[in-house]
Every structure is written in C-alpha cells, then in structure tokens.
Amino acid sequence: MQQNYFTLRLISFIMLTGLFLLGNSCKSGNKGQEGKEVGIEDFLSEEDIFDDIDKAKKIFYSLPSPLETAMLLKSAGVEYNETVLNDLAGVEKYSTNKSKALNLGIYTTDLSFASLFDQAQTSLKYMDVTKRLANEMGISDAIDEETIKRLEQNLDKRDVVMDIISETFLNSSSYLKENDQQDVAAIVLVGGWIEGLYIGTQMIGNQFVAGSKLVDRIAEQKLSFSIVERMLQDNSKKITGEENRDIVDLINELHALKAAFDKIEVQTSAVKIDEKDTAKVTVLKSQTKINVTPEAFAELQAAVKSLRNNFVQ
C-alpha cells in the first residue's frame, strides 16, 4: 500500500516536472476592449499600461535592442564620436558573468553605432570583442568565423552589416533564453540600453536645449525604464526560488537612475487611428507631453555616467 502511494507520488512528480519543463504555464482570458474611445486631453504615465497584467500568462518584456538603440540615436541627430565608445582593451577585464553580460550588450550597441555611421574598421574591431565575450559566455555559435568573413566582405553595404549584427544578437539572445539564462539575456539588454543612454547624454554634454529632438528621445527612455524594472524584477529569483544576486545587485545599482527619471515627466495621450486611411503603413496618432528641466537632465546625465562607468570598469 505504502509502495503504491510512493509510486503514485513519483509519477505525479515526473508529470508535474514534465509539464513545468515544457513551459506550459499560461491561462487564457480575453480582455480586449475594442473601439473604446478616450479623449486626447487625458494623459497617462508610463506605469499605467501594466495595470491589468496577468501573471498567469507568458509575459515578454521587450527593450530596444542595441541595433534599435543605435538607430534611435542616429535618427535623433547624434553624430559619430568614437571617443564615447567603450575601450576595446577593456574586454580583458571582464571576469564575472555579470560584467561579461553587461559588456556584451555595451559592445553590441557600440558595434551597431559604428556600423550605422559606416565605420568599417571600427565595426570589425567591435565585432571581434563581441565575439570574444560571447565565446567566454559559452555562446560560441552566436558569432562564428563565417560571420566575421561575411562582415569583412560586406563592410560597404550597410544593410548587410545591420542584418549580420541583428542575426548575431538574435543568436545570443535565443541561446540564452532557451538555455534557462533569461536573467543573463536581461542583463545583456540592460547593458546595451544603458550604453545608448550614455552615448546620447554624452553627446548633449552641457548643450541642453529643452524640446530638442535628442533631449526628448532621451527623456522618452523613461517609458523603457519601467520595462527594465519589470523585466529585472521578473528575473530576480532563480528557478529554485533562490535570490538571483546579479539581478538584485543590478536593480539596486539602478536606484539613482530611477530617481533621476522620476524628476522627468513623460505623459502620453490615447492613440487614435484614422479608420478611413488605407495606406499600407498605419499611423498611430497621439501626443506626448515631456517636461524636463536642465537640473533634472543634469541629474540623469550624472546617473547614467556613473552607472556606465561602473559597468565598464
């Protein structure tokens, strides 16, 4: 009798483990409210979108990737300046998993930034350090010799170069996420995103102009910061329930940045779509109110600089 009970418990354990491993953790529930009209005079802040988050579902948080970050900087009018990029020789220093992951993100943003400005030789050098860090993190198939060769052969074709960078980043992030290293993938993304903020804030220096395209683009990163917070919070515990030290440390390191973003106001109105518009690309019409004082921007600049300097040390 006792043996049967034990066998039953064992079978239950195996089945539950199997179900867990297969990742089927979602429950359905339709919350769409189609066609609801909201006046454009109403504005919401960055936390409101998470109001009805359903933790039972599979949740993804998406940050601007290093490639998108570089593109956002360029479209906001940033000019190329190699002195702000992370020192290539720094790759020798990164010995912990956390510093490797952060700097994989940082170097990938630098690589993307150099490539967008057609800096062929610099791009190759940054691809090399990125490859080295990825290899040290066990992601050897993210960037292979074939990738480097393809990059060398297409350095004058920006679209191909960007496709190669996109593919190498996809290789790293998919490898990490599918090998139960979502926490490491999150750290890589945070590193890359902070590097974008660093480049942007450094380019402004002491030339702050309220309402300029670049200042607004940097202030709008407050919207992504709330996603950073949630993504890290979701990864703050290991699968065993144990605290994830690297992630908890990173959350603590971001406190000064959070305090700086708290002094910047970014509010968005509801989105309207012209239903009669038959264009291939739909335009989402809305307004964003951004209020950033020179003092608040200086605080943000200082917080980003300090954070980024700690990451690359």
Binding site: G18, L22, F60, L72, T268
Partner: protein
C-alpha cells in the same frame, strides 16, 4: 531499484524533449518567422515560446516616433492561425488581426512614442483532437527609418 528505471527514462525523455522543442522554436523564429520582416531590419530580439491551444501571451514594448515598425506574429504549422491585438495604455485596441484575415504582419509608425501591449492568442482548433495542440509562437519586430 529496477522499478525506478522507467521513471528515470521518462524524466530523461522529457528533458530531451524540452531541449529539442526549444531548439525547434529557435529555428522556427530564425528561419521562418524572420522572413516575414523582409524589407525591415529585424531588431535582433528573441521572443518565442511553446504555447498550447487556448493559451495567451503578452508582450510590452516602447515604440518610438520617427521609425516605421513591422510586427510579425507567427505560429508553427501544428497550430491554428495565431490571433493578436495591439493595445495602448488606455486599453484601446489599435489593431486586431482577426479583422484583417488573421494577418501575420502589421506595419505602423507613431506620431509620438508610446508603450504598447501585444496580446497573442492561440485559438482552439475547430478540428477536435484527443490532446490540445502545442507549438512554437514567435513575436518579432522589424524597423526602418522613415
């Protein structure tokens, strides 16, 4: 001890299946779903998971003004056509692919930057089967300068 062997084998098979299913999902996203972004630059982010009929997933992302975006939501062959909605912070449904022949992609740009939520659902298949179907669902983003 011998009587535990079948259970250990079962556990090993489940572990192997998990690795194998994940690898298939990665391949599906990279080789098939990414093709839907042709004409756009894929941002490089990977969002894919194994979902079962009736299940939903949500994705939160900030989209910035000044760029054209394409979202592609793809499901593997085993699954019925995947449904998705794009919702703003005011809970307005901005796009529902059920009203566009369950299209896999949607192209858009924004007058001002916004956080949006993408709700993805695997509908329950009309064809009845003994077990609910599971398969890979990938959400991918491409962008281009306006």
């Amino acid at each position: 001890m011998k009587k535990f062997i079948p259970y250990i084998v079962t556990l090993a098979v489940l572990l192997f299946l998990n690795v194998s299913v994940n690898a298939q999902c990665k391949g599906f996203a990279k080789k098939l779903c990414k093709l839907e972004l042709t004409g756009y630059i894929h941002d490089g982010n990977y969002h894919a998971a194994i979902l079962t009929e009736g299940e939903e997933a949500e994705l939160y992302k900030t989209f910035y003004s000044g760029q054209n975006y394409r979202i592609a939501v793809c499901g593997s062959e085993t699954l019925p056509a995947i449904e998705f909605q794009i919702i703003d912070a005011y809970k307005n449904v901005l796009y529902d692919n059920r009203q566009h022949d369950v299209s896999i992609v949607w192209d858009f740009n924004l007058e001002s930057s916004q956080q949006l939520k993408i709700v993805v659902k695997v509908p329950v298949s009309a064809q009845k089967s003994e077990y609910p179907k599971s398969g890979c669902v990938a959400i991918m983003f491409g962008f281009q300068e306006k």
